[in-house]
């Protein structure tokens, strides 16, 4: 390439003036961006906290439960997961998924409203600018990554080919670093921008009265380049129209997905992954991993099935299903609540885990390791804490809604623990190893 053609090319490269004048939308401006921003400023921390709660609910400190073993200091906040109220995980994880989905239109609108910043010219003005751009990669990459992996996971699409727990967990921490910095740097500007127009007045202005935002001196002026277009085109949609569209989008997504957590909305939930009907009957509710998929053969769960209990000094006990049925049975209404957000409350009947511990000589259990007949699969075992094993409604369930468990729901016996994440309610149980103080 000759020197002359390089010079020609350089002249044709977008300069600050030409690039900035290409943005035409009369609606972009600090006020509109701040409206979307304030919604995310409330929503994203709720997402982050419910996400941390969900990770804690897996009790990662117990053997075999940790889905992200390289977490280092990121586990600093862990606490013993609770067993009461029994709906806690159901509500926190339902909130995490439904709110996350409803925020999708807001996130897209927010990104649209600030996209001119991405193409600001010159791309790097100073060292400060360079570092800020890297932090914006954490913010934008993190937001899109977290929302995308969340959506793919609840829709059973694992094409990202890494462990969802790993990616979503570490992605959240990288995202929240960028988010916190961004919120801190922009909070003052956001407040001033929000005060520059009245929300209620805005809702009265139709298309004809929709004019570009007035630049706010000292707030929205170069060198970063104003969000307000230099040469805006006439408005084709009012500002209130955009707000209604984004809010309506969130509402539509919410209504189309909420039924998997909120029973009342079930008839509207056409696009939620887990509201398809299982017909009618005591076992007609959501299955997570069917018996055939788990490789559970009828011969494994027939009359020959025995539950093995193991105590701390190698004490063992073998119980048939009839033995279990002859013990004191407890009935409890408890939810199955999945990390994917769906949940369902059913009436379970079974033997208290604490009563089983007593059979191998443990008066006060401090934990249990539950194993399934399932040979493969990440959740063919789970460790329960002492608090979980001792809970009055922590059961080895044999029946549900007055009938025997179906094969898909874990026949001959499954664990059900109040407030535990769904996958910790191990199905097709074959062995429970208890730890704790022996009866003395």
């Amino acid at each position: 390439m000759s020197a002359r053609s390089i010079a020609t090319l350089a002249r044709r490269m977008p300069g600050p003036a030409t690039l900035h004048s290409r943005w035409k939308s009369p609606l972009r401006g600090p006020w509109l961006t701040s409206v979307f921003g304030v919604v995310l400023l409330v929503g994203i921390p709720i997402e982050f906290i419910t996400g941390l709660v969900s990770w804690a609910a897996y009790d990662p400190r117990l053997a075999g439960n940790d889905t992200t073993p390289q977490h280092g200091i990121l586990s600093f906040y862990l606490f013993n997961w609770v067993t009461s109220p029994s709906w806690l995980y159901r509500v926190s994880q339902g909130t995490h998924v439904l709110l996350g989905l409803a925020l999708v239109p807001v996130l897209l609108a927010k990104l649209w409203s600030v996209i001119p910043r991405l193409f600001a010219w010159p791309p790097l003005r100073s060292l400060a600018n360079l570092l800020e751009r890297v932090s914006l990669l954490l913010l934008v990459g993190g937001a899109v990554f977290e929302f995308a992996t969340g959506i793919l996971n609840i829709d059973y699409d694992y094409s990202f080919k890494f462990s969802f727990y790993n990616g979503h967990f570490y992605g959240a921490w990288a995202f929240i670093a960028g988010f916190t910095l961004h919120a801190a740097l922009k909070f003052g500007r956001m407040r001033r921008a929000l005060r520059s127009r009245r929300f209620r007045t805005e809702l009265t202005i139709g298309l004809a009265g929709t004019l570009p935002e007035a630049p706010i001196p000292g707030l929205d002026d170069p060198p970063e380049g104003s969000l307000v277009a230099a040469h805006p085109a006439p408005a084709t949609i009012s500002r209130r129209g955009v707000l209604a569209l984004v809010g309506g989008g969130s509402l539509a997504v919410f209504l189309a997905t909420a039924g998997q957590s909120i029973r009342l909305l079930r008839p509207l939930s056409l696009l939620s992954p887990r509201t398809q009907s299982y017909g009618s009957g005591p076992n007609a509710f959501q299955v997570n991993r069917t018996a055939p998929a788990a490789g559970i053969a009828a011969s494994d769960t027939g009359p020959g099935w025995k539950l093995e209990l193991v105590g701390p000094t190698g004490t063992t006990a073998q119980l048939t299903r009839a033995d279990l049925m002859s013990m004191t049975l407890v009935t409890a209404e408890l939810p199955i609540a999945c990390v994917e957000g769906w949940s369902t409350v059913q009436r379970w009947t079974g033997v208290r885990l604490a009563d089983l511990a007593r059979l191998v000589g443990i008066a006060r259990p401090t934990g249990a390791h539950v194993q399934s007949l399932e040979r493969r699969g990440a959740f063919n075992q789970a460790s329960l804490s002492g608090q979980q094993v001792r809970a009055g409604e922590a059961l080895l369930a044999l029946r549900v809604n007055g009938a025997d468990l179906s094969p898909d729901h874990g026949y001959p016996a499954r664990v059900i623990v109040p407030a535990a994440p769904g996958v910790h309610n191990t199905k097709w149980v074959t062995r429970i190893t208890f730890t704790g103080k022996e009866v003395g």
């Binding site: 390289q70 977490h71 990121l74 989905l101 999708v104 897209l108 990104l111 649209w112 996209i115 991405l118 003005r125 100073s126 060292l127 400060a128 600018n129 570092l131 890297v134 932090s135 990669l137 934008v140 990459g141 899109v144 990554f145 995308a148 992996t149 959506i151 793919l152 829709d155 059973y156 699409d157 694992y158 990202f160 890494f162 790993n166 990616g167 570490y170 992605g171 990288a174 670093a177 916190t180 910095l181 740097l185 085109a233 084709t236 949609i237 569209l245 309506g248 989008g249 997504v253 189309a256 997905t257 056409l270 696009l271 992954p273 398809q276 299982y278 299955v287 991993r289 069917t290 998929a293």
Partner: protein, 157 residues
């Protein structure tokens, strides 16, 4: 202070917060890389920003610009009621619904879905099309209503 601001481009508090943020993110990256899938997670993370900013946004921006230009060039022969938002709004609603359900709608995740639930993803394409139809149908009725009102007021051309 002035010297620092000139050389660096912003105040010292900003620099300190940025370093804190990037150092923490660096720590998270070391955690990611200590796992077997580290590189793939990082590629997806960076790819997510690229996919939005350089693929998704340009595509929908061009499509929207096209609709606005078309609306300006081909105003309705009926009384002048702008039609562009009657296309925009249902399109965006339909697209957003698809964004949260596309693996189900296109049955891309059928094997995993069947393993988990014992069911198939066959209902979802029809359901999404139904919701899309309702959105466009409602928009069309509203448009007809607006045109009718302008005609009744004697607007016409």
């Amino acid at each position: 202070m002035g010297w620092f601001r000139r050389r660096y481009g912003a105040g010292p508090l900003r620099l300190l917060s940025l370093i804190a943020c990037l150092a923490f993110a660096g720590y998270v990256v070391t955690r990611i890389l200590s796992g077997p899938e580290g590189i793939r997670i990082l590629v997806w993370f960076a790819g997510a920003a690229v996919a939005h900013d350089l693929v998704l946004w340009p595509l929908y921006a061009v499509a929207d610009r096209g609709a606005v230009v078309a609306a300006r060039r081909y105003p309705d022969r009926l009384p002048r009621v702008p039609w562009v938002n009657h296309v925009r709004v249902p399109t965006i609603l339909s697209a957003v619904l698809l964004a949260v359900s596309f693996p189900l709608v296109f049955r891309w995740s059928e094997p995993a879905y069947h393993t988990a639930s014992g069911l198939t993803e066959s209902p979802y394409l029809g359901r999404w099309l139904l919701l899309t139809g309702v959105a466009f149908g409602f928009s069309a009725v509203l448009y007809a209503f607006r045109v009718g009102r302008v005609m009744a007021e004697g607007g016409g051309q």
